[in-house]
Amino acid sequence: MSNNNLLGRRNFIKGMGAAAGVAIAAPAMAISEKADGVKWDKEVEVLIIGSGFAGLAAAIEATRKGAKDVHIFEKMSYFGGNSAINGGLFAAPGTPMQKKEGVQDSVERMVADQMKSGRGVADEALLRHVAEHAVEALQMTMDAGSEFHPYLQQLGGHSVARTYQTTVSCGAGITQPLYKECQKIGVKTHNRSKFEGFLVGEAGEILGVKMRENYHFGEDQPGKVIKIRAKRGVIMATGGFAQNIDLRMAQDPTLTAEVGCTNAPGATGEGMYEMFRLGAIPVHLAHIQSGPWASPDEGGFGYVSNYSIYNFPHSMAINRLTGKRFMNEIADRKTRADAELSCRDEKGEALPPILITSYKDSKKHPNTKKVIKYNVGWKFDTIEELAKHFEVPLKPLKAQIEEYNSYVKSGEDSQFGKNMTKAKDKYIQAPFTVVRLWPKVHYCQGGVQVNTEAEVKDSFTGKPISGLYAAGEVCGGIHGVSRLGSCSIPECMVMGMTAARSMMKA
């Protein structure tokens, strides 16, 4: 969905129409069946559904643990899922780069930061499990050939700098090497293959799945459903449901089509809902996170998201109606997304706020040039030009810049309590670069409950559903109310690896 002009009401509505179309195009729900007397069309050893971080890591780990016949099935025509289009940010405690930069960090500290942002309902055991194995997962990406920027970043809500980012500033810097590694080690990958339900044994164990072949997302196309026996079990790595407006509004009615979405179109949630039908425990479905760094001037994650994540620590976010700051630019995601959504004109209509950065500081990020080139950000030589372009009242804006710069100098933000460490010596001064901000639905904290073995628990027995494992965003409850940035990639990879290990020793 691309709202190129959120200022105009008409375009805005048009954008909503397009988004509603996506929801309608969402495929019919899958149905699970008893497997007795079933004629299997095919048999595989390890069956993985979804080809993002979790699915790819699971496939590699299963192979390393001795599996000979590993298959990844992907609904979309391309591999990588949502993982291929995010920011490629990877948090881990006790990394080589932290040692080099002299950053004191630990598993405990990372878990404590995440518990705080989770606001009391995060799953501490799972967070600790992920943090303990995060360096190992990072190593898996590097072994496959991922390359990272030579500096650490400190994202909103983190108490220290612990985030790596791929040199291409995108998750594809990880999914592409992992995908190639999968091909190298003989993992079989199947695209255009849509999961249509589980095939369940006498004792409720998962024996296999129904799979629609030659599936074309969003198209009316018959394909063919085959029944696949999974000898060791099934790993569900199907991601979240951020693209399914009906499902997300059922959980949180504020997440209308007015709030865009950064996810790949395939994040429609039917894998997760099918596990619920089977008896999996739903957790925290209403906790859906919007990215406060997104732009209404491009679709999806686009170029601006990474630009603003990098620049927030030394930038000023301004409400265009007042010319004043309205939030701590590096507060956690929910705090900032809520603050942005409150920026509205006199009629209550969306008035996306702007992020002002000094060009000399913003230009260090590789996206800055592209943001300007593709008209999703602007460069101004004077504050007057900037104010005129965005119809911001000039006098209060000038006063705000002066005030903010005094915080840069003193190192203390008495307006919003922002940590000014990374803003040191970075005064807001001409020339400026500016992007518009508007939250986009980014991540579903909710999903099926899993334990630290990546086993899916049954709601009535409390025991794991035999033969079923889940990893990544399809799992719920781990992060609680708000997930910290860069904590999903380690989670997906660690839990994918964990699922493979559990399956191989089951």
Partner: protein, 117 residues
């Protein structure tokens, strides 16, 4: 398929700097395929063709070369891009019976002048 390749190669040589998306090529499809729908519809007439059907004649490396961009924008090559490399199935952006938007437009404002929707 070899024969088809030769015919295609001959026509291609005649059309310098031809883009895979250009309308000329669609006309040309008519010429090569004639009325035999099965040339592309390898999964049966009522099913969409496989992506491999396109690759019977089109070489992904050649396509990537044709749509290459400058070093700075090299990852905006639709046939060899940052997110999916050269593994992006043809029908994501191209449809013979109906117009399609380039997939990049889901998230980016890039212009592909020769891409006909």
């Amino acid at each position: 398929m070899k024969k088809l390749n030769i015919v295609l190669a001959l026509v291609l040589t005649g059309l310098v700097s031809l883009s895979a998306q250009a309308v000329e090529l669609r006309d040309h499809h008519k010429e090569v395929i004639g009325k035999d729908c099965k040339t592309c519809h390898d999964n049966g007439i009522k099913q969409f063709p496989s992506d491999q059907a396109c690759l019977q004649c089109h070489d992904i490396d050649d396509l990537a070369e044709q749509t290459a961009r400058s070093e700075e924008d090299r990852w905006q090559n639709p046939h060899n891009n940052l997110h999916y490399g050269k593994d992006l199935p043809c029908q994501e952006c191209h449809g013979e019976h109906k117009p399609k938007k380039p997939m990049c437009s889901n998230c980016h404002t890039f212009k592909f002048d020769k891409h006909k929707e």
